[in-house]
Subunit: 372 residues, 2 copies
């Protein structure tokens, strides 16, 4: 797995359980996954020789992020090492303009690719302010995305240089009643499984909370969202996990963004599903039969722990664990910095309001928002 | 954790989840845990300098086996490193004669420590053949244990030299209707939790199958077994997981053996309980509040995969996973040798006969007993 973040760290457990030799390419020995994975190699994901050296001897390489340049992946494939998802599929998750073009047959907000401020103003004139401005590449966790209220906003935001190879993407600002995410796993043989559709809450562009399955989602609407994700996976030739982030406008479901890897919206599945997204990602990229994505309880709630005022997360353990012996805690071994994802908690059970209370309380305590 | 076997390997996942720095002392880099744990040190568990070097910088050391000599552990404690379970508690799991003496107030088979064949013959005369002969130290997975049918058997078995410091222990051969195991976690603060009592099936002294909770066990009998384990843990000052293996004679429950670590009888808890035995062992030895040992479903069935005719366990994955997408597979990364524990499978659900069928089928397929 290229990338040493928490997704690689959380992939290590199912790799060990399945007896799969698991190697990670991390940028430094103190990255989240490098702390726990025995076969960690240190190198840059955007350096061809580092990635190729890393890939030698692997059967398959896969990713904990979308940032490996396609040209490097083609070189890896030329070595005879399978790359999953493949470079041409992955490119849809790397470039949002490319994704919008490829998914033109799927429901989406109105969008356009613009080359200058005047084009963007014209787009905004058609759909009405506010609009969403994105760089097509290089964004994550809310970076590279701006909510634009006026022509002046546009001029200011577009005055910064675009990342290499990126385009300016403008999108209608959808009035949604909530955000959903649909995750599927798909293997090279074409087997697919769909996880329950979840409701996600983003704060400042960062996933804050996930409810699995989304409450009060009509069965036909849930099936529609799952089918959308399955169709996108097949249409783009995705292998591994695909997360489709969606807007639920109340009357329709629109595709927002894609991730081709385990995703924050599926962390609940570690304890909340028969087979976690991390195990199914490994199974899928290895072309093994997929595990059941079935939930083990009526609801799971995941709340992210973001960096706050408490540098030592361990100091919260006594309180959090004593208060809630059924809670699941995941810390990523990352240095606490304000707003950074440093862990998450999951509560699994039947009483959704109680699960939300428990998970939010624990996350707030870890973050120093509350102290009792 | 001293010892690089599968128990250390399976402890790595909850250590990573909780953000606990996890170091393993393995005898070689190809041991089960050494393959997956980043901070693996190579050394001998019975070499004082290796263990002390390993322990430096740790807050707590604990074990994946019982074989570290107490004198070494006392040296580690003298460094200011907590040893959990402590040497004096652990000694009860290291020496079965010591355990029998210390547990004289608890129900047990009739037993004696003998110094020669004639004493053993006298004991057998009192309780009747067959009897069980054990070396008090150094046995595991059926080694160091003999079923004795006659005085001639005794003379033959006792002609081999005893392990260093060991005594000959003779025990009544109990007619049991089944074997049970009760696991508890106990922290230095004295908090304890009890897992459901499980039924275990041993074949040639090796755990083959576990049903959690034991079927058809009356509530009062289950509570009696849990209380027995809790009382033993408190009485011996155990910290961490304690497994008490028991004989159910139909009319009473007798203590067979102890293990002070995660134990084969608790592997079901990885997927079958809210908090696994591996996580609770870590929480207990770190004196953190313990997690709920509650099952997540009516039944879990665990069946061990023993080394058979198929050297490459991975070759079974397509069949096993395609046949049963809800099954949980754990392979330990150990070379396949006949009769060696190389993995296990777990099925969790409500229909006990179906769970048994599924888990046994998968284990048999891994072992090459069946090929379809």
């Amino acid at each position: 797995m290229v990338g040493g973040g928490q997704l690689a760290r959380m992939s290590a457990a199912p790799a060990a359980a399945l007896g799969i030799d698991f190697r990670v390419l991390a940028a430094s020995p103190d990255e989240s996954a490098a702390q726990v994975v025995a076969d960690t190699r240190i190198g840059r994901h955007d350096d061809p020789s580092d990635v190729i050296e890393f890939a030698r001897g692997c059967d398959v390489i896969t990713f904990d992020h979308e940032h490996v340049p396609p040209a490097i992946l083609e070189q890896v494939e030329a070595l005879g090492v399978a790359v999953r998802p493949g470079p041409s599929a992955l490119f849809h998750a790397q470039d949002k303009a490319h994704m919008r073009r490829a998914l033109s047959g799927f429901p989406a907000p109105r969008w356009d690719v613009v080359t200058g401020v005047q084009d963007a103003i014209d787009f905004a004139h058609d759909v009405g302010y506010p609009i969403i401005l994105k760089t097509s590449r290089g964004g994550y966790d809310g970076r590279g995305v701006w909510r634009i209220e006026s022509a002046a906003d546009l001029a200011a935001a577009m005055s910064v240089p675009l990342p290499l190879g990126a385009e300016w993407l403008v999108e209608e600002c959808v009035s949604f009643v909530r955000e959903l995410a649909a995750q599927v796993a798909r293997s090279p043989s074409g087997q697919s499984v769909a996880y329950p559709v979840v409701q996600t809450t983003q704060i400042n562009g960062i996933c804050a909370e996930v409810i699995a399955p989304a409450g009060d989602l009509a069965d036909d609407r849930a099936v529609e969202a799952q089918r959308l994700a399955l169709d996108i996976a097949a249409s783009l030739g995705v292998t591994g996990m695909l997360a489709v982030e969606m807007f639920d406008t109340g009357s329709e479901i629109l595709v927002n963004e894609l991730a081709m890897r385990p995703h924050n919206s599926g962390h609940w599945s570690i304890e909340g599903a028969v087979t976690s997204q991390f195990e199914n990602h490994l199974r899928a990229v290895l072309d093994l039969p997929l595990g059941a994505p079935t939930p083990i309880a009526p609801y799971s709630v995941m709340v992210n722990i973001l960096g706050g005022d408490v540098p030592n997360l361990y100091s919260a353990f006594r309180h959090v664990m004593a208060r809630d012996p059924r809670l699941h805690v995941h810390l990523y071994g990352k240095e606490v910095r304000p707003g950074r994802k440093v862990g998450h908690v999951t509560a699994v059970g039947t009483d959704l309001p109680a699960l939300l209370d428990r998970a939010r309380h624990a996350a707030d305590y870890f973050m120093g928002v509350i102290d009792e």
